[in-house]
């Protein structure tokens, strides 16, 4: 029976046409952007994370209403992260946002119109963040404080991150034998993953005991490197 048949030429032609159509549609910029949140949004997320860390001092807010940017030492007692966890109720929950910019109080000036000094990182804040990273009980809270755990269309989106302080030769700046700041996940080396990298030039408020930094305009400087991926 010869009815209901199609020629091989037609089959080849329609195959080429279909492939051409698929290729053409895929080349239209942003056509599938709403479906590709993973590939399109990590660059601004990495940018935002670097801004929060470098240009903001963070927020510590108690239920009593007390609020300060000195989240690493909210009571001004000079205690470190571990001591704050013991002495302050809900210390890690009271930290609403992590920022690393130095407080103007450290300058010792009689008055200042600003709360923090952008682009100057506080060593004490970096040490507190590094200690927090090593606190396995509370480590998982960091991602939210960095704004890297968000809700989109009622679905939680959890970004992976790696943040470190390096010198201009890309070597980690040490604090005694350990890095001063190296937190987050291991940067993936295989698989279909796009990792966004942002580098910021930062001054460091107190370089006593630190090596590898360079002087720019009289300030000891290094690079804060932020990697973000999903």
């Amino acid at each position: 029976m010869d009815d209901g048949q199609v020629s091989m030429d037609f089959l080849m032609a329609i195959t080429i046409f279909a492939l051409g159509l698929v290729l053409l549609i895929s080349q239209v910029p942003m056509l599938f952007a709403p479906l590709q949140t993973v590939s399109t949004d990590i660059q601004p997320v990495a940018y935002r994370t670097s801004m929060i860390l470098v240009e903001d001092g963070g927020i510590y807010n108690e239920t009593t209403g007390y609020i300060t940017s000195n989240w690493e030492d909210p009571e001004g007692t000079g205690e470190n992260y571990s001591q704050n966890c013991i002495n302050i109720t809900n210390y890690t929950d009271n930290v609403k946002r992590i920022g690393l910019a130095m407080s103007t109080m450290e300058l010792g000036w009689s008055s200042s119109s600003e709360d923090i000094v952008p682009n100057t990182l506080s060593v004490n804040k970096m040490k507190a963040l590094q200690d927090w990273q090593e606190d396995t009980a509370n480590q998982s809270k960091i991602v939210k404080k960095l704004g890297l755990l968000v809700t989109y269309n009622n679905n939680p989106i959890n970004y992976s991150y790696n943040i470190s302080l390096v010198n201009f030769s890309d070597n980690l700046i040490p604090n005694s034998s350990a890095p001063l700041l190296q937190i987050g996940d291991s940067i993936p080396t295989s698989g279909s993953v796009t990792v966004e990298k942002i580098e910021r030039i930062v001054a460091i408020d107190n370089t006593t005991g630190l090596t590898g930094n360079r002087t720019i305009a009289g300030h000891e400087c290094a690079k804060l490197v932020v990697y973000v991926w999903r």
């Binding site: 010869d2 209901g4 048949q5 199609v6 020629s7 091989m8 037609f10 089959l11 329609i14 195959t15 279909a18 492939l19 698929v22 660059q43 940018y47 670097s50 470098v54 300058l107 000036w109 000094v117 952008p118 682009n119 100057t120 201009f168 030769s169 940067i187 993936p188 080396t189 295989s190 698989g191 279909s192 993953v193 796009t194 990792v195 966004e196 990298k197 942002i198 580098e199 910021r200 030039i201 930062v202 001054a203 360079r214 002087t215 720019i216 305009a217 009289g218 300030h219 400087c221 990697y227």
Partner: protein, 159 residues
């Protein structure tokens, strides 16, 4: 009509779907390497803004290194642009192929007069290409009774 070399319609559609399906599957499952990306324009802009921000950091005299360079250029025979370029070289980012040009522009009274730039100092690298990124910072010089506004333009580019 020659009926040889033909197939049934349903078979043809099935064959077509299988062909497209295999191609789509192969394209999706092809091994891809991890890519570490950095938007060049954004990164250059951030380098520039961070650098100028550090230069413009207020000191105990409530002035900044950037202010002093502009003031020195205007008030005396001082090459502020060359000094700022030397500070940039302290970052060693020029070793990564990032070069800069600095201009100090007088904006007062509607003028756009380049007071000082680093063409001579940085002539090895020539003029910046079209895809260079320029970041700026305003510096207001207060030398009573004169108040003048200058713009420090830092142009960065990759080689």
């Amino acid at each position: 009509m020659n009926k040889k070399g033909q197939m049934h319609t349903i078979e043809a559609i099935l064959a077509l779907m299988i062909i497209i399906g295999i191609i789509a599957f192969a394209a999706r499952s092809a091994p891809q390497e991890t890519q570490i990306e950095s938007s060049l324009d954004t990164q250059l802009m951030l380098y520039g803004e961070d650098f100028l921000s550090i230069l413009d950091m207020e000191n105990e005299t409530h002035r900044s290194r950037l202010y002093d360079q502009v003031n020195g250029t205007v008030e005396s025979d001082w090459n502020g642009a060359a000094n700022i370029t030397r500070e940039w070289q302290n970052t060693t980012l020029n070793g990564s192929g990032i070069f800069c040009k600095v201009e100090i522009v007088n904006l007062t009274d509607g003028q756009l007069k380049v007071v000082n730039d680093t063409c001579g100092v940085n002539s090895t690298y020539g003029e910046p290409p079209k895809n260079a990124v320029t970041v700026t910072r305003l510096v207001t010089l207060v030398n009573p009774p004169r108040v003048e506004v200058y713009e420090v333009r830092l142009t960065l580019w990759y080689i």
